[in-house]
C-alpha cells in the first residue's frame, strides 16, 4: 500500500489525486485537511522530516489553473529513506489562507514566514507570522507574478538585526 492509499483510507475526503514522478510520491490534497494529513505523515507514516515549503503563483502560467496559489510541502523519512511531496491548492485567490502545520512540524515556522513574506499566503495558527527576509516597512510580496520587476523600495534606516 502506498502512502497516498494510506492517507486516502484514513482521511477519505483529503486526497484529490496522487501520482509518482522520479521515484517520489506526489499527493494533491484539500487545504482543509492539511493539518490532519501532516499528523498522519508524521505519526503513522514515519515522515519525520519536513525539508521545505514552497509557494507557487500560477496566475501567469500558460495553462489556466483553477487556483492561483499552491503550497508544496516536501517530506522525507529518515527511517525508510523515502520522499513525499504534498501539493495544496489554496482556495482563495485574493486572500490566500491555509492552516499552519507548526504544531506538527516546528521547523515549518520559518518556512511559513518565508512563504508569507514572498508570496503573501497567510498561515492560520502560526505563532509569529511576520516577514522573514524583507524589512518591516516593505509593501507587497515580491515573488507574486503581479509585483513589478522594476519596483524599488529602498530601506531608509538600519534595522536591528536581532
Amino acid at each position: 500500500m502506498t502512502n497516498s492509499d494510506y492517507i486516502q483510507k484514513t482521511l477519505p475526503s483529503a486526497v484529490l489525486s496522487a501520482c509518482e514522478k522520479y521515484g517520489q510520491e506526489i499527493v494533491v490534497i484539500n487545504a482543509t485537511n492539511l493539518k490532519g494529513v501532516a499528523r498522519i505523515l508524521k505519526d503513522e507514516l514515519g515522515f519525520d522530516m519536513l525539508l521545505d515549503i514552497s509557494a507557487l503563483d500560477w496566475s501567469k502560467w500558460v495553462e489556466k489553473k483553477s487556483n492561483r496559489f499552491e503550497i508544496d510541502y516536501f517530506f522525507y523519512s529518515t527511517k525508510n529513506n523515502t520522499r513525499l511531496q504534498l501539493k495544496v491548492p489554496v482556495p482563495d485567490d485574493v486572500n490566500p489562507v491555509v492552516d499552519s502545520i507548526t504544531e506538527v512540524y516546528s521547523i515549518a515556522d520559518w518556512s511559513e514566514r518565508e512563504c508569507w513574506d514572498m508570496m503573501g499566503v497567510k498561515f492560520e495558527g502560526h505563532p509569529n507570522l511576520k516577514r522573514l527576509l524583507m524589512w518591516r516597512d516593505f509593501v507587497g510580496h515580491p515573488l507574486r507574478k503581479d509585483y513589478p520587476v522594476t519596483k524599488r523600495q529602498p530601506l531608509p534606516i538600519m534595522e536591528d538585526l536581532l
Binding site: P142, Y147, V149, T150, R152, P154, L155, M158, E159
Partner: protein, 171 residues
Amino acid sequence: MATQTTQIPEQHESALTRYFGDTVLATRVDDIINWGRKYSLWPMPYGTACCAIEFMGTVSGAFDISRFGAEVVRFSPRQSDLLLVMGTINYKQAPVLKKIYEQMCEPKWVISVGACACSGGFYNNYSVLQGIDEVIPVDVYVPGCPPRPEQILDAVMKLQKKIDPMNRIEK
C-alpha cells in the same frame, strides 16, 4: 618620486649641497603627504560575492597588491582608508555598508569592484541596490563579472593618480 620639486634659490643651493650633498629633496607639504598616502593605502575588503575571491587572488603572491603599497588589509573600517566593495549589495545591506563607510576616518576612498557593486549587475529586481553610489561616494569603478586581478590593480593605480594632485585640505 612623482612629486614636484621646487627650485631652490641659488645662494642657498650651494650652501645646502655643500652640507647635505644630494641627500636632501625640497618639495611641498601637499606633495609629500599625498606621496605617503597613495603608496600606503590600507584597504578594507567588503566582499559579498565572487569578486571577493578575485580580491584574494589580487592580494596573493601571483598578482601581489603590495607592489602598489596596498597590502595591509584591515578588517576594521576604523583602521583603513580604502573601502573595496566587492559583490552584490542588496537593500537590506545598504545601511550596513553606509555605516561602515561612515566609520572610516578621513581621508577615505572607495573602489567599487565588479558589475554588481557598480550597477546591480544582472540583478535587476526588488532586492538589489542598483549600484553602491546610491548610498556612498565611489572613486573608481571596476567593470567585470568578476573583474580580473589586473583590473583591480589598475583601479588602485587609477586611485593613486587621483590622490596625487589632491590638496591637503580637500580630504
